[in-house]
Subunit: 253 residues, 2 copies
């Protein structure tokens, strides 16, 4: 199974290449050469340049689309070019090259404004008084779109495009609303991170399930089995057998 990973030299990209290379035939697509690029055949092309980037899709079975400007504060011109235009191009190149499946790295920021509401607004700052872990409604795949940034809007755009390409062209699509992934693979950055952490191995297992299990169009949250998480994981567990092993709470100091 030939899998193309866009943004393959990025934080998540390089981690996933290493985690998936035993099981899949991995190729990379990246905007520029990098000293951090993992040792897989990699096409260098800007995602917003359809002619250049679409060459990487030839013969590919599935795409894991990670390439984007990741900071939530990314200014609009970069969001437009690197997140919106490039994401459209990924879906379109997948369709043109008869790729079966796209795993789209969406983000919790597509629905980030739920964190303005209780109890999420309290959990994110560690005010747990009167709350039981998990004893509140989880934000799930049916939640309204509530972006907290232009970046979040671009992720909602990628989800909407994915559903369109699924329903009209039969592309299989999973959108992963990824929580907090960091280089140190640790939830200790803040009290919020204890709730929102996604460990590297849980992410790798989630993506593996997305690549190997039956799939139509789905939205899944990418979050570890954290005691104080407020994003649903049942849908991913029930649909594709997501089996998170880590819990941010184990790292509370």
């Amino acid at each position: 199974m030939k899998v193309l990973i866009t943004g393959s030299s990025g934080l998540i990209g390089s981690m996933l290449v290493n985690a998936l290379t035993d099981q899949f035939d991995i190729f990379g697509l990246d905007a520029r050469e990098s000293d951090n690029a993992p040792d897989v055949p990699t096409t260098i092309a800007d995602g917003s340049d359809y002619e250049a980037m679409s060459k990487a899709f030839d013969g590919v079975d599935a795409v894991v689309h990670l390439a984007a400007n990741a900071p939530v504060e990314t200014p609009w011109p970069d969001v437009l070019k690197n997140n919106i235009s490039a994401t459209h191009n990924v879906y379109e190149a997948a369709r043109q090259h008869r790729v079966k499946r796209v795993i789209f790295a969406s983000s919790n920021h597509a629905v980030g404004n739920f964190e303005m509401d209780e109890p999420y607004s309290r959990i994110r700052v560690g005010d747990y008084e009167g709350l039981d872990p998990g004893g509140y409604a989880m934000v799930d795949h049916t939640a309204a779109i509530r972006p907290d940034s232009d970046y979040g809007v671009s992720k909602a755009f990628g989800e909407a495009t994915g559903r369109y390409y699924h329903e009209h062209f039969g592309l299989e699509v999973a959108c992963l609303r990824i929580g907090t992934v960091n280089a140190q693979n640790s939830p200790k950055g803040s009290v919020r991170t204890l709730a929102t952490w996604l460990s590297h191995r849980d992410l790798a297992q989630l993506v593996t399930q997305c690549l190997t299990q039956p799939l139509g169009f789905e939205i899944f949250y990418g979050v570890s089995d954290n005691t104080w998480r407020f994003w649903d994981t049942d849908h991913a567990k029930n649909t594709i057998g997501y089996a998170p092993q880590d819990n941010g709470e184990d790292y509370r100091e």
Copy 2:
């Protein structure tokens, strides 16, 4: 109350200028000069050119944002420039110029794929057997985003951006998922149109209510009181007093 209408020389734009000019101080914004342009002060600027278009927002109380490539088949490069980039610019210019309210012309195509499902798939072709008018669930403002085109994706983008600007910057936003509006102001184009028609006077009344009633962030369907409609109007009736007077069924031949 100073109201800026973008796309003021278009089909809906010129109709709304005429309908609203007695009640509001109307200004236009359009990409180019037109013989059809209504006789109101109009800024000529491309919506994707922020510096040029944003000048029209000075001193404005509310914006009715209609400017877009309207055909559902609009190719992606035009959607990106004229629907996505220009719509972002409208929200951002509204924020920068302290405009209070934006009425965004969204579209039924943001959720158009519900028409692939029964009973909507049958109603749209006139197969009413066993159905009672209105005796089925309406597609409403809580429905999942299911665009039927890049155009539909761009309208979902505009709604997501509107919610972000409302929740973060306090902008008041109504997104109107407009049905079928045509120059002849008639529902007789097809059997689907009998269900999806929005008459000119119902649209003008809906926009007037959006401009004058209390508003946070809302999604409303723009459809007349058609016997076989499948889009909810209760939310607009209950929230802002939308009072449609027309019914496509009265024109069935």
